[in-house]
Subunit: 247 residues, 3 copies
């Protein structure tokens, strides 16, 4: 059972964050809120999302996994205009998620949660490099890097005390160096790993709206991006595996 009201834009942002990586997910609802964790089909990226009851105007739920067609839910939410309240309901034993917004009523038949890939475990990662920065800066750098290459290196140069993003094309090179003036915080730990631009572009659609993205990086290790949504009542974590750096 679920009966909750939420600002439509907040719910859109949450669904967009998931839709950046996966087309279906198990959404766990319970009195503690909503949460999901899912990996993309290529097993390269993972998204975790949590919305506490405080993210909602009203929230009532019995524990249950909901099988969500994320793409369809995103499309439905895309038809919503205006920043009104959205009512989400799933009657007990029903297989239908109902959404009500202004004079619109939407219903989405849910997927059998057993047909959806099991929730992945969160890998234990030691990522000693920690950087905190504005999401817009991050998103712009990823976009710029995409012009010259399909890969981008993220790293920390502890001597120069900068976080850098670097992309190499055949004959051209882009490097963005951000020092203390441009960052909210930085650990002075050597780090450098290489990532696919495509995944980062997908992730940065949502990250780019956040004023504070926490990045965890290491040497040839995955990267973790973590940021709040729903005015602090929710959190999104993305993990992305590194690519091999070919010389």
């Amino acid at each position: 059972m679920l009966r909750a009201t939420i600002d439509a834009d907040v719910f859109k942002e949450a669904v967009d964050a998931i839709a950046a990586l996966v087309s279906e997910c198990r959404l766990h609802v319970s009195p503690e809120g909503m949460r999901t964790r899912a990996v993309d089909t290529a097993n390269v990226a993972m998204v975790s999302l949590e919305l506490t009851p405080a993210a909602f105007e009203t929230f009532e739920a019995a524990e249950r996994p909901l099988g969500i067609d994320v793409t369809k839910l995103k499309n439905i939410l895309g038809t919503i205009k205006g920043d009104d309240r959205l009512l989400l309901t799933v009657p007990a034993d029903s297989q239908v998620l109902n959404l009500a917004f202004q004079s619109y009523r939407y219903s989405l038949t849910m997927l059998d949660p057993n047909t959806i890939r099991k929730d992945p475990n969160a890998p234990a990662l030691e990522l000693p490099g920690q950087v905190v920065l504005d999401g817009t800066t991050l998103a712009n750098a990823i976009k710029a890097a995409g012009v010259v290459s399909d890969k981008i290196a993220l790293g920390i140069d502890p001597e120069a005390r900068v976080f850098y993003m670097e992309a190499e094309g055949d004959t051209e090179n882009i490097r963005l160096e951000l020092g203390s003036a441009d960052l909210l915080s930085l650990t002075e730990t050597k780090a450098r790993s290489l990532f696919s631009i495509d995944y980062l572009k997908d992730m940065s659609k949502t990250m780019g709206r956040s004023e504070r993205v926490e990045i965890g990086i290491g040497v040839d290790h995955p990267v973790r991006f973590s940021f709040e949504i729903a005015n602090g009542a929710g959190r999104v974590v993305y993990l992305l595996a590194p690519r091999i750096e070919a010389d």
Copy 2:
């Protein structure tokens, strides 16, 4: 013979309304104004348009059918920037429609009216359900329905006193219910017919700009949309045949 001046945006709107359904038409000019009636190539939809002399700043015309390449006329009007006056002229016995706008002179050789499909008769239709609403609301609902299906049902539920638009996808469903608060008027007569989204989308480009669209519907009957253009000095009527509702 035709010699008329008209606000360029008003004439664009009239041509757009026709171009939504047909690529050529017979435009009848006479001292009573301009009118046309045409059906699309699939015989599914019909457009009627009337502009009285009051829609023009100056208007002088002798009775004559003009064979118009609607697509080319729309393209020419698309090059016009700014909201100035447009001069339309067809000299007596000439086969050319001349348009003058600012320092631009356009000429469009007309089609032989005899090569254009004869004007269809307006079918006699009894459409007991009458709904009046804002064009934007209608256009938004059609757009939302297009996300889940290529068909949309329009209907009146006389018990709930609502006009509804409903579209069904494989697993998802959108329904918009508009009651007295959202409508300008509604007859409480049961009605429901199914229509192709594509035609409705084409029609709603023009309808969406109108503050008042009158809808006539029945049970498995065509739908009629009627709205004013040119500040009340013109009128557009669209008719659209229903689709068979497959169960």
Copy 3:
């Protein structure tokens, strides 16, 4: 050796002007500034560009031709947001052009200037018809003409004292006549030549931003467009060969 700072938008405009016609060029730097001259691969159009040291905030250069991949340079500049100062450097003997903008560092390996087509000579042209007009007017007319044809005639009618642009489609025709009220200046010399819309469209992306474009035309002769950039500290000249007028 090159070390120069310039407003990023001014440098973008200069590179855009070249990129409209060619994908690589020899950029001659010297204490007198920067200049290039290049013809497109089809030998139909030529661009000349000059930037004097006054176009730069600081400018220091030893004479040297730089082999520039114009397309890549344009793409790199396209990632720049904001109107800050751009630092351009080429160390002596280096084959790399470095750009620094805000926290971004770009590097572009240069081409061997010997592999780039030799600088064309500027042809000696007598173009008696001279027209001066606003670039926006010119760009709009070229765009409008493109709707009906892939060719446009530019001409001067000395009797009507107008500069005209004319395009003919199968059944439609667009003609723009500009008299003294719309022009900054006009010589009353008969002229008319026919040109490819595609080249003019490419050129008008840059010309359209200029408040004053000088046009030189003749009878079945090339056309020359000349306009200032960098607040008068630079100049672009385009030459375009005429097309044969088929009847």
